[in-house]
């Protein structure tokens, strides 16, 4: 049995820097959705979905990213929250 090694300190730091903007982007989007009384998928609150979520396709077993799913429905949310490339 192979044992996975813990990531090196530098790699952990890099991942941390990548994750932080994504988390901030998700928080921004959640605020944006809450202000408009929308559920986490960008639909009206109280919406029900087959399987409980529109993000998972039960025919293919594939999942779509929540942020991308919402941005597709609400392009204005992308403008408000999408992370901008560093240095711009």
């Amino acid at each position: 049995m192979t044992e996975s090694k813990p990531p090196a300190k530098a790699a952990r730091a890099t991942r941390g820097r990548e994750a932080a903007p994504r988390d901030q982007e998700a928080k921004c989007l959640d605020r944006w959705l809450a202000e408009r009384k929308l559920d986490p998928y960008g639909s009206r609150e109280g919406t029900m979905y087959a399987g409980g979520t529109p993000l998972f396709d039960e025919r293919t077993g594939r999942r779509v990213d929540r942020l991308e799913y919402v941005y597709k429905k609400h392009p204005e949310a992308r403008a408000a929250c999408a992370a901008k490339p560093a240095g711009r």
Binding site: D39, P40, Y41, S43, R44, E45, G46, T47, M48, Y49, A50, G51, G52, T53, P54, L55, F56, E58, R59, T60, G61, R63
Partner: protein
Amino acid sequence: MHRTIRLLAWPALAAVLALAGHRPPLKADEVYRVASIRVPERGFRAYQPDNVIVQFKDGVRDRDAEDMMREAGGRRARRSSFGFRYLVNLDDGFAIAGVLERFRTMPGVDYAETNGIVRAFQQRVGYFTPADPFYKSQWHFLMLDAERTWGIQKGDPSVVVAVLDSGIAFEDFGKFRKAPDFGSTVFVKGFNVFTSDEHANDDNFHGTHVASTVAESTDNNVGVAGLAFGCALMPVKVLDSEGVGSFFDVAEGMDYATNFTQNGQHPVKVINLSLGGDTASNTMRQAVDRAVGAGITVVAAAGNDSAGKISFPAALSNVIAVGAVDGRKVKAPYSNFGPELSVVAPGGDLRRDDTGPDGVPDGRPDGVLQQTFDPDTAANQGRYDDFHYFFVVGTSQATPHVAAVAALLYRQGITQPAAVKAAIESTAEDLGAPGRDDMYGHGLIRPALALRGYGLNE
């Protein structure tokens, strides 16, 4: 001794038919991958694909009979030793339906019919093995020891499972068609919340697949099986063609099922909710309370977000919240988890192949196998008649396994939702951390154990 005669081929017509697209029937295991996997419905024949039985009327001359058989598409024929009856082998390129139609228009023919396949009954005592040709590929039923379950209880139409979903392909109505493997399934009057009438036809695919797991016609030599196939189904359409609905719509559907009466009785005993939402709702909570108060067990999907949060209304304490495991009895990667999770059932994983007939991987992904129509054909051509057998995965697919067991428990004499829930949870196979845990709840349902422990057939 059999008398066999050889009929002359009709190569010209055979060639024309071949060019016109008459291909030999597909075999049962000719599956192919599309978005998910589908098995052509016509692959599941309950009769010999290349011969038919023809009985001629008294007084027809042998020579005329031979001419008729040749004309209808026969290549050679074997005469019965006991009557004016032939087993006619068809020439290449002739389809059975067309041959039978030709025979039936001939004045000298008494009748013509398919040559059905007969199997010896080899039932083990206490077990029931259905004759559905693709049943062995339903690894999810094998995992649950379904044959032992059916040896105890197969269900009865007096127990109705309301499937609140995108509808069910339960009737021929307008552009909608009844699914072929619902031939002997009993349906009670349903409800479409969008049109406020009884035509709760499926325009998505999801509801038909879910309902099939509960009560697809079984032991009928067609396709696959359903776990509570003796019970009746109520189609209630609360999700639209995109698989989306609202708390209000679902609550309306629940109240319809709860209030439904037939012959002065309330036959709905189980409500299956392979759906959910992210937020709580008083409207839904109260509808669930009314259903449970009326003696109905409500079973709902935990959700497919891979998240540590159970969907609503599965998160309610008086609902059986169902998560999913794959073919190894390992939590499916998409299945939600949390303190409200009650049990897990097979939901599958299309990225894995750990199962198949006799527990041997079969080269097919491990989804739950049931009939429904091809949603792509429906979307692109507006046709709702393109039925196949699809492998589909999700907590949506796990949930009807539990709803079916609940229905069988009612048939065994349990009448209270809390007792049904306790029977299912207390007999589950403990998985994951010892005792109840948030990943598997009380564990994997064991229908036969639940029925044997609480049933009248003990």
